[in-house]
């Protein structure tokens, strides 16, 4: 029988905390850049002019259908050769997850905008609003409310995807766990505790999402997925 011994994990818990901070930092950075970029992509894809809609559509489809790990390796190993920049694991991860999540956020934005009834557009035009004005003042405020559950779900998905940065040795939670497991020869305890930390954080967020969804359902707004 295997003897479980968590003391090695507890003694080094500060390492895991640093890792969790690293995970949250990269998730936050990707969200900060991914959301505006996603809105931009969605608006371009919905634009009536083809030379805006097609490239945006291609970027969205390409980043949605290729594995994030391939994208990360491309930005980490290939981009610095093309662009003469000092590539760090953090920079590569920030670029990858900003663009990757923006492709998914773009689809959330698009679904939300498309879900608003045509009558809203027509009403805006009837009182003399231009398309950008109608989008900003009438459509988006209504659409965003409907999109909140899909957004939070996507953000949780993003947090789970950030574990990939461990493979290019950015010090996120998984990377720190791997280091600790090798140092203490206690992989079972270390990886079990790590999985539990992820579970507590992510399950907690999921519960919040469910709460928000229920509240939105009560207020009578259908939610877009």
């Amino acid at each position: 029988m295997y003897e479980w011994d968590f003391s090695a994990v507890l003694d080094n818990s500060d390492l895991l905390w640093q890792g969790l901070v690293g995970t949250l930092t990269i998730t936050g950075t990707a969200l900060a850049f991914g959301l505006p970029l996603g809105l931009l992509l969605a608006l371009s894809r919905l634009s009536p002019s083809r030379w805006l809609a097609w490239p945006a559509g291609f970027v969205i489809e390409f980043f949605r259908t290729t594995p994030p790990l391939v994208q990360l390796f491309w930005f980490f190993f290939a981009l610095p050769i093309l662009m003469d920049i000092q590539m760090t694991p953090f920079l590569a991860a920030a670029i990858t997850f900003s663009i990757q999540s923006s492709a998914f956020f773009a689809e959330v934005f698009r679904a939300g905008i498309v879900s608003i009834e045509r009558g809203q557009w027509e009403a805006a035009r009837a009182i003399g609003m231009q398309r950008p004005q109608a989008m900003r003042r009438i459509i988006l405020p209504q659409a965003v409310k409907r999109m909140i559950p899909a957004f939070t779900e996507r953000s949780i998905e993003l947090m789970k995807t950030t574990t990939l940065v461990a493979t290019v040795s950015y010090a996120d939670l998984l990377y720190q766990a791997n280091e600790l497991a090798q140092k203490t020869f206690r992989p079972i305890e270390v990886f079990t505790v790590t999985a539990l930390i992820y579970f507590v954080v992510i399950f907690g967020l999921s519960l919040c999402v469910q709460g928000i969804e229920r509240r939105l359902a009560v207020s009578g707004d259908s939610t877009v997925r």
Binding site: Y2, E61, F62, R64, T65, T66, P67, P68, L69, V70, Q71, F73, W74, F77, A78, I81, L82, M83, M159, K160, T161, T163, L164, A166, T167, L174, A177, N178, A181, P187, I188, V190, F191, T192, T194, A195, Y198, F199, I202, F203, S206
Partner: protein, 221 residues
């Protein structure tokens, strides 16, 4: 940007990439089959009237949905071999992680699909003397599976993308082979670009199919 692209150096090693593609397809096949089967079992258990079936299934589903799949793969590769009485290969560890993760996600698809079927169908089945199992197999599932097709195809696409994580524990999949080629030839740009394009070319037609399915679904029932 005066970089000279040279795909010849990748083409020279096409045999290695071919091996990688076969390995990627192998792990994808295993995970798709095992993940969906286990997902159906878990979905049914989650929907069961028996508490001792419903609760463990719910715990399984919530745990594997709410932890990153790479953490699961690492657990099976680095931690599980100490507990298990047998050898664990990289393929086995990666397949276990991806399968259990996909099972948890597809269980929710199956559950949603089954619950979306009108209760009248159950009552009709019972009225003509069918048992729970018969109703499920002959009436509910055939209708539910049709409704679930877009979601299940999306899950399949996700699984295919997830297989690249196996390269993190040195399973010789397409991405791992590309990494080898890049480190031998110093041509990461070409190697990774080829792999990215390969995934896009394989998956994009399937993505189009899901769009068609979704549109047909919106028009139909």
């Amino acid at each position: 940007m005066d970089y000279v692209w040279d795909f010849g150096s990748v083409y020279e090693y096409r045999a290695a990439l071919w091996v990688g593609l076969i390995n990627t397809l192998r792990i994808f096949g295993i995970c798709l089959f095992a993940g969906l089967s286990l997902g159906l079992a878990m979905g049914l258990a989650r929907y069961s009237i028996r508490r001792w079936l419903r609760w463990p299934a719910a715990c399984f589903i919530e745990f594997f949905r709410n932890t990153p799949v790479l953490v699961q793969i690492f657990w099976f590769y680095f931690a599980f071999p100490i507990l298990a009485p047998f050898e664990i290969s990289a393929l086995m560890a990666a397949a276990l992680g991806i399968t259990l993760n996909s099972a948890a996600f597809s269980a929710e698809i199956f559950r949603g699909g089954i619950q979306s079927i009108d209760p009248g169908q159950w009552e009709a089945g019972r009225a003509i003397g069918m048992r729970y199992r018969e109703i499920m197999a002959r009436i509910i599932l055939p209708q539910a599976v049709r409704r679930m097709m877009p979601a299940l195809t999306n899950r399949g696409i996700e699984i295919f993308k997830m297989t690249t994580l196996a390269s993190a524990i040195a399973y010789a999949d397409l991405l791992h082979q590309a990494r080898l080629i890049a480190s031998v030839n110093f041509n990461p740009i070409e190697a990774y670009t080829v792999v990215a394009l390969a995934f896009f070319v394989i998956l994009y037609p399937i993505v189009r199919v899901t769009y068609v399915l979704e549109r047909r679904m919106a028009k139909g029932d």
